[in-house]
Assembly symmetry: D2
Amino acid sequence: MIFSSDNWAGASAPVSEALTRHASGLVPAYGNDPLTDAVTRRFSQIFERDVAVFFVATGTAANALALSAYARPGGVIFSHQSAHIQVDECGAPEYFTGGGKLRGLPGANGKIDPADLIRLMGEHPDGNPMHGQVSAVSISQATECGTVYRPDEIRALAEAAHARGIPLHMDGARFANAVAFLGLSPAEVTWKAGVDVLSFGATKNGCWCAEAVIFFNPDSALQFAYLRKRAGHLFSKSRFAAAQFEGYLADGHWLANAGHANAMARRLAQGLEAAGNRLAWPVEANEVFPVLSRATIARLRAAGALFYEWPADGVDPDQSAVRLVASFATDPADVDRFVAVAAG
Amino acid sequence: MIFSSDNWAGASAPVSEALTRHASGLVPAYGNDPLTDAVTRRFSQIFERDVAVFFVATGTAANALALSAYARPGGVIFSHQSAHIQVDECGAPEYFTGGGKLRGLPGANGKIDPADLIRLMGEHPDGNPMHGQVSAVSISQATECGTVYRPDEIRALAEAAHARGIPLHMDGARFANAVAFLGLSPAEVTWKAGVDVLSFGATKNGCWCAEAVIFFNPDSALQFAYLRKRAGHLFSKSRFAAAQFEGYLADGHWLANAGHANAMARRLAQGLEAAGNRLAWPVEANEVFPVLSRATIARLRAAGALFYEWPADGVDPDQSAVRLVASFATDPADVDRFVAVAAG
Amino acid sequence: MIFSSDNWAGASAPVSEALTRHASGLVPAYGNDPLTDAVTRRFSQIFERDVAVFFVATGTAANALALSAYARPGGVIFSHQSAHIQVDECGAPEYFTGGGKLRGLPGANGKIDPADLIRLMGEHPDGNPMHGQVSAVSISQATECGTVYRPDEIRALAEAAHARGIPLHMDGARFANAVAFLGLSPAEVTWKAGVDVLSFGATKNGCWCAEAVIFFNPDSALQFAYLRKRAGHLFSKSRFAAAQFEGYLADGHWLANAGHANAMARRLAQGLEAAGNRLAWPVEANEVFPVLSRATIARLRAAGALFYEWPADGVDPDQSAVRLVASFATDPADVDRFVAVAAG
Amino acid sequence: MIFSSDNWAGASAPVSEALTRHASGLVPAYGNDPLTDAVTRRFSQIFERDVAVFFVATGTAANALALSAYARPGGVIFSHQSAHIQVDECGAPEYFTGGGKLRGLPGANGKIDPADLIRLMGEHPDGNPMHGQVSAVSISQATECGTVYRPDEIRALAEAAHARGIPLHMDGARFANAVAFLGLSPAEVTWKAGVDVLSFGATKNGCWCAEAVIFFNPDSALQFAYLRKRAGHLFSKSRFAAAQFEGYLADGHWLANAGHANAMARRLAQGLEAAGNRLAWPVEANEVFPVLSRATIARLRAAGALFYEWPADGVDPDQSAVRLVASFATDPADVDRFVAVAAG
């Protein structure tokens, strides 16, 4: 009953097999190998346009380096106040953007509201160096609350960003879960809705170390090879990052993995709601945030369940919200047992 | 006949098998898993003292972050002018040290001389902010010329560095090759000779992505967890970096791999020398730098051999030095064929 | 009727005369001149202990460089949400601290509350790199609301900071106004109350370019000469910064200037309150924040008065808070005329 | 007999008077005052085209920030190995360019040779992130050897830089001395010869703190207001920087000051040469580098002369080169006495 995080899971079989399949043989280093080329072309197919693709080692690197490609002196980056870039990355976005300021916005269900965004960006008018300058807007898809932006929501934020001359970045650490939930094409939820650059995360969903920064306008990526190398994120044996993506993207495996995780989250949510527990936010991707009594939490922990308590609004003193994360590796039996123990 | 680089090789069988062995199961993320713990302890055994161990994604990251742990404002880092940190890392050391200046020293066989080092450090006396301040000395082991520092050579440089209050860093991208050549314990060629921090590289020698920064004085590492995370180099699924090291370090596999590479280099060297070719530098690790006639080079390329030309002194206009790198995966038949083609 | 800012004023006579007095003659550069030495000693007298003193060009530089002396990777700096370092310095503190994150606290009258501070620092527990690490607390004295911290208020914040192992920085852009208001010694409102480092501002109060970073524990300043030079803030002709301080600190001139500014602010406040206007915050230093009707504001502007509107809570739609700043150069006749026009 | 440096001199009378003249009155802060505007227009007159002008506090800031306006990740900046940015600025250029690498070129008389520059830039071909990328060329005018680039020499370097898509920066700490020597217009020795950005230094030649970064193509300066503010180099009371330039630039005062300094240097050189002393480099601006016997040096020091020994080639063991710097404030009597003492 481990629901601590989807990055507690390992590598799924097609990914693991791809690593083994490409283990031998001598091929060019630093991304000049045929497999890296093939995977890059595969991304262009998936996104239905030419994209610039850069593998990096972690999601933190993907986010921080993607934002650094648009950095400006005195730059200000806007995101939800619960965003991973705000609270979980040890200042990496600030560091790689040369001291960028991250301003957090409130917003229901982990999403930012265009009106709030426009108002806050307004505190940084163009041409006044004192207050710095707007430099990027970043959203998480799925969000840190387990919800998923709809294309029109993304488009509204993109328009607000573009009206100020800045890009919309999408932190897609759980991009597959969002796509699987929406049932739309990757293109529809990204560049067709105005996204400029995407952190395409695969690690949480079945790879061991596979993150890609994807620029939908390759012109914006002209300096990125240097930004990545300077940060120590150019793999010498790039083929192994590529191999993971090969396995991950083949035959819809990535969406199958995400679909399983999402289904496990729904199953958790339905079971917990049926037993009378409130959910802090709607369950759309692979995360569930039930509000549980402290007694229930204690009972679950005694039974060996692993999960984190989580901040949420409107929670009574004898309760706590908790975060339950399902992954491609989640066993339905674990879900059912968790629900049963929670029911008491 | 691929002698372009040791990072054109893939993953050796024990490393690849360890990745597969640990692919399933749910374990804590971000390095809090049992395997990461076990590998860390293994490093302490290998080095015969408690060491602080940090996995990172690349050798560039290992070097730059290791140096950043000792950064000072206006800091100056001293290394051989041919060092990887000087010429091949896109300014990563400068970037992560907040604008450190890298000063390159000449020196025979890719090694720096203590007297030269002391003289150059003297241009940055303590207490004069104009000229900056000394902050680290870095050596490559094996060197970029394929040679290997002896313990007393290391000790002399360490003493010069310590006399100025700064650490000695060792870029061990080919550390295994150096240890295999010397036949000494890892402790003898590192901290017992005065090394403070080591970039322990395993990628070139049979892993796909396994680099560790090793601090011999753990007190110096107190901020490193933050430096690494801020740089996006904390793996969420740390177990897979650990798994590679598990396979790499078990049963002397790492030294066996390096021993094979070194032997292949010697075989190349002996064959080429027997045919009357001069070597630019002594062959001690897994790199060979013969000076070949342009006709020989053309003949080798026509036969399908891959390698890079390399700058070296004292080369006639109708000649060029070339770099030949052997790896754990080098086939002796390829070596013999290369020698035969070169002989004409 | 110019109440836009105290940095619209020029240089007061003793400061200007000191500049002229030291204009000729050849003296050592880069702070090695006798006048710089003398002024440094004068600061130690004023603060009743040995202090380390560094002139820099601007208040922004003083704040950002002071904080950089205590920077940590992933560091988080805490201040009031209205602090100058938060909103008016174009990311300089973030930049010079290598990507530090500035977290803003609410708090009545521009002051932060120790309980709030402790709670917010608690979101960054030691040893968890994801969330970064606490690195400094910064307060403004006088505050951006024109109020002044009392020594016991400072002490409580210092204790909270020190309990987490981080320093208390004081942005003293209007330090003289605060000291003049409190009628206490400079020592009592700084290190005796727990302040570790002070941005001692003199520019707003009668100098043209005279700011000093003052370390109360000189050991903390060991790297500061390098931090300053690397930032381009070491004056070659340091004597002229020193000369300004000589004139400023002689014969209590600095406190006389501040006392005049404070008195003009009180006179403004009393006149406006007598006419029925509310003040957003108490008037303690040289700034007044009346809430005026839009009609009054229009009448004042029509009469030539210059000032900025200012955000404040609880203001009706037909009103606005405005900021009125008095300086050493404020003419009482201007004050009285402003009050008269405001009264209608 | 003080010849240590031209920044040991104070402020010349017209500069000092301008500071006093503008000391009173209330004017807008942060460069929005009429005097700053007027001085900016004055610079456009002097340079015969619209230029973008930014005052900063020091020459180090001017150089480092000017270069930062053209920074690229992994960027490499080329200059003479004796350049101030290389040896005397505590890593400020590296810091403000985000870890730029400064490569030093040899070259006779403190000047770099286009062929050498092209060759060294060739080590950083476009499109190879490992080796970083070229980002700027910087020359000093006058050079650190006291010599002056001719327009055709500048043009050749500018063409080499522009051919690689990078700008030519001129460190004009002693720009006035160079212009006075050449007898050409400021335009002819800058943008008409291909210079893109100039650090226009006035401090050494009669101001106390007046440095300007001048962009000849204002489009390149669009981010500079933010770069400057973020570095803490935007003066709140900008009028005082402007006032110095007003006095400095009026009635040819700046060239008169420089002409005096140059004449004093020539007088020194002629006297020393007449007594049989060799000069390390030609005397063109306000610096003289005679090679003196140690006995002569001792005799001069005993007589109270102040100056620095300086590295130079081809100096016998019983000799040393010394640097003698004349300024606007140099007294001919001091020159003559120095020559007489040196003559023995």
